[in-house]
C-alpha cells in the first residue's frame, strides 16, 4: 500500500494534539510517523526520518527557523514547498483557519498528500472544539459552585429553603436582566465584605 511508504513528521508543542494526529495517521495506515515537540530537534530528526510531509502548528513561533533550515537543506537534497500545490487555495485556507501548516517535499503527488492534510486539518479542528468544550464545562462547574455559595448565604441569613433561595436568585437576575451567576457572585462578594 503506497500510503505506508510516506514518512510524516509532526511538529507540535502541544503534546496531546500531536498524539491525536499521530494516532489518526496510524489508523489510516501510515506507519512512518515521527513526532517532535521542539523545532531544535528538527535537524537531527530530518536526517534520521527523511520526511516527505511535515505538519506544524501555526502558533509555533519557530516556523521561521524551520523554513530557514529548509533553505539551507541543499545539504540534505530535499527541496520543500509549503503545502502540496500552491493553486489549491481552498485547502490552504482551510488549513490556516484550523491553525496548521504543512510542508511537502517538492514533486510529491497531490493525491498522496491530500488525505494526510485533510486528516491533520480535521484533527486540529476537533482538538480546538474539544478544548472549547472543556473550557465551557470548567466554567460551568465554577458557576455552579458560586451559585451554591450564594444559596447558602441566603438560606442562613434569610432562613430560606434551598428551593426558595434559588428562586430568589433567579427572579432577581431576571428583574435586573443579568446572569444568575453574576447575581450570585455579587452576593458572595458583598457577604465577604460584610464579614461573618
Amino acid at each position: 500500500m503506497p500510503n505506508s511508504a510516506l514518512s510524516i513528521l509532526i511538529i507540535d508543542e502541544n503534546r496531546i494534539r500531536a498524539s491525536i494526529i499521530e494516532s489518526g495517521l496510524r489508523e489510516a495506515g501510515h506507519e512512518r510517523v515521527t513526532v517532535i515537540h521542539d523545532v531544535n530537534e528538527v535537524a537531527r530528526t530530518i536526517q534520521a526520518s527523511a520526511p516527505d510531509v511535515i505538519v506544524i502548528d501555526l502558533e509555533n513561533p519557530q516556523r521561521d527557523t524551520l523554513e530557514h533550515f529548509f533553505s539551507l537543506s541543499r545539504a540534505i537534497q530535499r527541496p520543500i514547498a509549503m503545502f502540496v500545490d500552491r493553486s489549491d487555495g481552498a485547502m490552504i485556507e482551510k488549513a490556516v483557519e484550523a491553525g496548521v501548516s504543512a510542508y511537502v517535499v517538492d514533486g510529491l503527488k497531490k493525491e498522496r498528500v491530500k488525505p494526510i492534510l485533510d486528516m491533520a486539518i480535521s484533527r486540529f479542528n476537533a482538538f480546538s472544539r474539544l478544548t472549547r468544550e472543556l473550557e465551557q464545562a470548567r466554567s460551568e462547574l465554577e458557576d455552579r459552585k458560586i451559585i451554591d455559595q450564594a444559596k447558602g448565604i441566603l438560606m442562613k441569613t434569610r432562613g430560606l429553603s434551598e428551593a426558595d433561595a434559588y428562586s430568589l436568585l433567579r427572579s432577581t437576575a431576571m428583574n435586573q436582566n443579568r446572569r444568575l451567576v453574576d447575581i450570585a457572585q455579587s452576593l458572595v462578594t458583598a457577604a465577604s465584605l460584610l464579614g461573618p
Binding site: L58, D64, H68, A81, M82
Partner: protein, 404 residues
C-alpha cells in the same frame, strides 16, 4: 461616524508603534478606519495571513514585499509597501562571554561598528568553534545588515560564522542558554537581552547604515488596487502617528501604551529606551544613540524606491535571487512613493520630489527638494564608507560580491 474595519497583523516589536498609536490615539478612527490589530508569533504567519487575506495590511520587514513579489516565498504574490514604519531600531547584541573576548581584542564599548567589527573578526579567527548569530527571518533587514557589517569587517558569513533564524521573543533566551553567541533584532529585544541575560549591545543599525528603513506597511497589490481610499487613509493615519510619536513630550505616553499587555507586554522603562535613544548597552553603561529609531523626521515614512533596490542588491549578494533587470524592476515596483504622495498631499506634508536617492554620500543632515519643502534629511553614511548609487546598481552588485 461610520468606520470601515481594517485588520492588521503585527509582531511584538517597538516599530509596530505607529500602527498601535494609529489605533490607540485615534488617528485611524479620524480617517474613518476601525483598525483591528492582531499580534502574531512569527514572520511566516504574518506573510501567510497577509497573502491569504486574513490581514488587509501588516507590519512587514522591508524585504518581505520584495520576496513575495519575486516569488521567493510560499504563497508568493505581488505585495507593495506604500509607507515605511520608521528608520533604525535594530541593534546587534552579544553574550557576555563574547563581549569580554571582543573587549580583549580592542572593542571600544562605544558601539562604533568599524572598531567593534574588527575586534569581532579577531575573536572569530581565534575561536576554536564557529560562532553562531541569530536573525529574525531570512529575508529580513536584520539578516542583511548583520551580513553587511560582518563582511565589511572581514568576516565571511556562513563560512566564518553561522547565522540561524529565531523569532524575536526567543532570541534573549537563546543567548542566555548559550544556543547563540549574538543576535540582530529590533527593540525591545536587545534591551531585554541586556537586562535579563547579561548581554551587551555591540553596535546598532543607526551606525551601520544611518537613516535606513526597517519595517514597512505591506499589503497585497491587488487589494491595494481595489481599496485606494483605505490605502490612503492608513498612510495618513500612520504619518500622523509618526508625527505624534516624534514629539519628545509624548515619549512617556507612547512607551506606556506600547508596554501594555496586547502589545509588547514589557516595562515602559525598557520600551522607552528605543524612543529616547538612551540605551543601556550592557553592565549599566548608558549611551545616547542619535536617531536610534526615527518615526517621522528625515522623510522616515517615505518609501524610497532606491531603498527597495538596496534590499534587492542584498538578496542578490547572498544568492537568494538572480541578478536581472526584470527582477530589479519587480523589486523596485514594490515601494510605492506615488501612493504616499497622493495620500499626504491634502495634509500639506513635505513630499520628496524624487523616487530614488543616493545613500552613503551625506555625513551631515542635508536638504532634499520636496513639495512643501525643502525637507531636512538625516546623514546616510554606511559605516565602511560605501556608496549606494541607484543609477549604478550593476556596479554596486559587482563590488559587493568581493569579500573585503
Amino acid at each position: 461616524m461610520s468606520t470601515t474595519q481594517l485588520t492588521a497583523g503585527f509582531l511584538p516589536l517597538l516599530d509596530s508603534v505607529l500602527l498601535v498609536l494609529a489605533r490607540e490615539k485615534g488617528f485611524a478612527e479620524e480617517e474613518g478606519l476601525d483598525l483591528a490589530l492582531f499580534r502574531e508569533t512569527s514572520w511566516a504567519n504574518i506573510r501567510d495571513r497577509a497573502a491569504l487575506g486574513h490581514f488587509d495590511i501588516a507590519q512587514m520587514l522591508a524585504p518581505m514585499p520584495l520576496a513575495a513579489s519575486l516569488g521567493l516565498t510560499p504563497l508568493a504574490m505581488p505585495m507593495i509597501a506604500p509607507v515605511v514604519l520608521g528608520l533604525g531600531n535594530n541593534a546587534i547584541t552579544v553574550s557576555d562571554a563574547l563581549w569580554q573576548a571582543m573587549a580583549g581584542q580592542g572593542a571600544p564599548g562605544n558601539l562604533d561598528p568599524a572598531l567593534t567589527g574588527a575586534a569581532l573578526a579577531k575573536v572569530v579567527k581565534a575561536s576554536p568553534r564557529k560562532l553562531r548569530f541569530g536573525v529574525v527571518h531570512q529575508t529580513s533587514s536584520h539578516n542583511y545588515e548583520l551580513r553587511y557589517w560582518l563582511s565589511a569587517s572581514g568576516i565571511m558569513p556562513d563560512r566564518d560564522i553561522e547565522i540561524v533564524v529565531l523569532p524575536p521573543p526567543l532570541l534573549p533566551d537563546a543567548l542566555g542558554s548559550g544556543g547563540i553567541d549574538g543576535y540582530c533584532v529590533g527593540e525591545p529585544w536587545n534591551s531585554i537581552g541586556v537586562d535579563t541575560k547579561g548581554g551587551h549591545i555591540a553596535t546598532v543599525k543607526a551606525l551601520i547604515w544611518q537613516s535606513s528603513p526597517d519595517k514597512v506597511l505591506g499589503m497585497r497589490a491587488t487589494w491595494a488596487e481595489e481599496h485606494p481610499d483605505l490605502v490612503a487613509a492608513i498612510i495618513r493615519a500612520v504619518y500622523r502617528a509618526g508625527l505624534w510619536c516624534a514629539d519628545p513630550a509624548n515619549h512617556d505616553e507612547a512607551a506606556a501604551i506600547m508596554a501594555g499587555t496586547p502589545y509588547l507586554n514589557s516595562s515602559p522603562e525598557i520600551v522607552g529606551r528605543a524612543l529616547t535613544g538612551m540605551l543601556d548597552i550592557g553592565a549599566g553603561v548608558l549611551q545616547q544613540v542619535p536617531d536610534y529609531y526615527v518615526p517621522h523626521a528625515s522623510a522616515a515614512n517615505f518609501p524610497w524606491k532606491s531603498h527597495a533596490m538596496w534590499y534587492y542588491a542584498q538578496m542578490v549578494r547572498w544568492g537568494e535571487v538572480a541578478a536581472s533587470p526584470g527582477n530589479a524592476d519587480i523589486a523596485v515596483a514594490c515601494f510605492r512613493p506615488d501612493l504616499y504622495r497622493a495620500a499626504l498631499a491634502p495634509l500639506g506634508a513635505a513630499l520628496p520630489l524624487d523616487d530614488f536617492k543616493t545613500d552613503g554620500t551625506h555625513a551631515q543632515p542635508y536638504d532634499t527638494p520636496a513639495e512643501n519643502g525643502p525637507l531636512l534629511m538625516g546623514a546616510d553614511r554606511f559605516f565602511d564608507g560605501g556608496v549606494f548609487d541607484p543609477a549604478a546598481l550593476d556596479d554596486y552588485i559587482a563590488s559587493q560580491s568581493i569579500v573585503r
